[in-house]
Assembly symmetry: C2
Homo-oligomer: 412 residues x 2
């Protein structure tokens, strides 16, 4: 029998009615002849509640105990989902991570999947079970302790099962109906994509992170697992949602697939840094050790042996960056005149695999922004993405103008 993996997030199993609705979707796929592996999250809110208890009990908690506590929510929904399917006369049973077994590293609270044993579940499929309901987000360490995979880990669980069982597809049921060309909340012309490539999905993380965990997309790309994102709150056809798939499966595409943004960026500039070999290494090593996630980096041309160094990071890490650099300066390893922080910037990016073959995307992007009177503060590019830092007040305008200019509201 072909295998289908279906994953239901927290809002899709938030209560017994929603679990029933999800179970009906599963029943539809079983009726089509699939053996189905269902991956469930905890009821929405449950994991947060337990994380709160752990943090209140022990601010610097033992991650092994954290995992033992917070993994319990998925066990509850897995059992309830199996019972709901049984009530619909669909042969089903629940599996916890250690029962599968889903073996992980010992990196508690952010473990990585090492191997999924397929024998137990395949044996049950052979005996007539139609649905294996698996508690997402959790596994078991080599020491036999429960591990969790980090936030959004149920997506990763789902993709890993799809890879291990050579599933035809991995359907991610969530509270949105697919991946959009940009955020519909700030651009009313945003259009749902029927297909998007893994590479684009990864670059659109700032849109996709709310829908798909980045790690799950990486894993899907590596194992060529077709991922479909769709809503559990609507009746669904086989073509619903957005298919995240290999580039080859997308016939024709716009140069640009989507416009992403990140609101909470800050731009920091170190004025008058000595321009000598190794200075960048000192600066960014200091920031890395200080726990600052540096994104974009620009170095000005040098003048009189000194230069300015600009970088961006999340707004809430500015204080940490200032502290780290001041400490390095204090230790005599680094000299600079001043650190200037601009917390009122945002990042806007255009993403598309079509950029590889179609030139002029960057030029067009800069012209569009210029025509709107939006000043570009920093630019970075990758093979399939161009990102710019702009004043935050222009963020929505930039997204809308770029969405229009690249005709994202129209199918390619």
């Amino acid at each position: 029998m072909p295998v289908l993996v279906m994953k239901f997030g927290g809002t899709s199993v938030a209560n017994l009615d929603r679990i029933k609705r999800a179970a009906k979707r599963v029943g539809v796929e079983v009726a089509k002849g699939y053996d189905v592996i269902v991956i469930v999250s905890a009821m929405s809110g449950k994991t947060n509640e337990m994380v709160g208890w752990v943090e209140e009990t022990s601010p610097l908690f033992d991650a092994r105990e954290y995992d033992a506590v917070v993994s319990s929510g998925e066990a509850v929904t897995a059992g309830l989902m199996a019972l709901t399917l049984q009530e619909m006369d669909v042969p089903a049973r629940s599996w916890q991570g250690w029962q599968v077994p889903l073996q992980t590293t010992s990196a508690h609270s952010q473990a990585r999947i090492e191997e999924i044993g397929t024998d137990n579940i395949n044996q049950k499929f052979g005996e007539g079970m139609k649905v294996a309901v698996v508690a997402g987000f959790q596994g078991v360490s080599p020491e036999g302790r429960i591990t969790t995979l980090g936030r959004g880990g149920s997506d990763t669980t789902a993709v890993a099962f799809a890879a291990a069982f050579d599933a035809e597809r991995c359907d991610i049921y969530t509270d949105v109906d697919g991946i959009y060309t940009t955020d519909p909340r700030i651009c009313e012309k945003a259009r749902k994509l029927d297909k998007i490539s893994f590479e684009e999905m990864l670059e659109l993380a700032s849109l996709g992170a709310k829908v798909l965990q980045t790690r799950s997309v990486e894993l899907a790309m590596r194992y060529k697992v077709k991922l479909r994102v769709l809503s559990s709150f609507e009746e669904q056809s086989d073509e619903a949602g957005t298919l995240v798939c290999a580039e080859e499966e997308i016939m024709e595409s716009n140069a640009v697939a989507g416009v992403a943004y990140s609101r909470d960026e800050a731009k920091l500039t170190l004025l008058s840094v000595a321009d000598r070999p190794g200075i960048a290494a000192i600066i960014f090593n200091s920031l890395s050790e200080g726990g600052v996630n540096v994104d974009m980096i620009v170095q000005n041309i040098s003048e009189d042996g000194r230069t300015d160094m600009t970088f961006s990071c999340p707004t809430d890490q500015v204080a940490r960056a200032e502290q780290a650099l001041l400490a390095t300066k204090g230790a005599g390893e680094l000299n600079y005149a001043e650190l200037v922080a601009d917390k009122d910037v945002a990042k806007v990016s255009v993403v598309g695999i079509g950029m590889r073959s179609q030139s002029g995307v960057a030029a067009k992007m800069f012209k569009v922004l210029s025509d709107e009177g939006i000043n570009i503060k920093v630019i970075t590019t990758s093979e399939i993405k161009i990102s710019v830092l702009v004043d935050r007040k222009y963020m929505e305008l930039a997204v809308q103008a770029l969405h229009d200019a690249f005709d994202l509201d129209k199918v390619a």
Copy 2:
């Protein structure tokens, strides 16, 4: 190191503050030099909530899935308790049933303990761990699925661990401060017992059931595990609470240790039943198959080849009893003139191992009730218990009069 088992029920771990209070008690015992095994229940209310979800989802639920769901509450408190102890610098870790392993039968939702593996926990004690926090109520079946032990199963878990680890004592922390001579709510002279024998504790089930699960007392008796019942809401000395122990350890005792009662009893009489061999078997087989828990049985003297048969059962089973007997009558296997049900009766019992050596307890009991004008409807006796059925309106009076007459407010 000597091992101590400490069990905390749902109200004793109802929130983070109470878990902290319980952990402090554990710390006191660790400081005395014990290796401690802590058995925890789910936070009060959590198990009921999950049972409700299961029953709403699937009225005739698959007990294997029921177990997978309802066992999750204990995992949460075990992890939180371990974290709380770690915060107090007490080396601790949590264990779920399958990790210990605590092996049970496959009788899901009412499994029996088969074996407790001691190697894993003993190894950790050897490595310096001072407290093993074990999720109560749960185990693992030979098929590798999670089982639960039935309501109050955490008491049984605690006693089983005390037996397996040859613990010096098993302390059951609960919301009452011990076992009383009778229910303090209906007899203000009720006195807390310092010691009570296993046998008496079992007979006092109607008092003890609220405090100790009957199975845990049976198990403690078989393996000679000293059980102590005490409150988690008070500062406790080594002599606090009530010790449930072997008869030999109780030096001197009253003939009567306590007065128990059961409010919701009903008395049913089958009038004019043919008095022939096998008729009792037919009647009680019919009731048993109808799911009626018959308690006391009395047969009148025969007259003209016919007799009356009286028995008692819980009030809420009267309809079931009537139905079962009517069906048997309808099938021609039984004949009787009438079935008379009296739902306004209660059972009052005096219990004490001293009865074995001291005569006259029954006579005294009947005289006390007679002096109060209380009519006895049915009598049954065992080696250490005498029970009578009386009109429910006299129940409190009967308990108080017997408590006085047998001097239960005074230490023997």
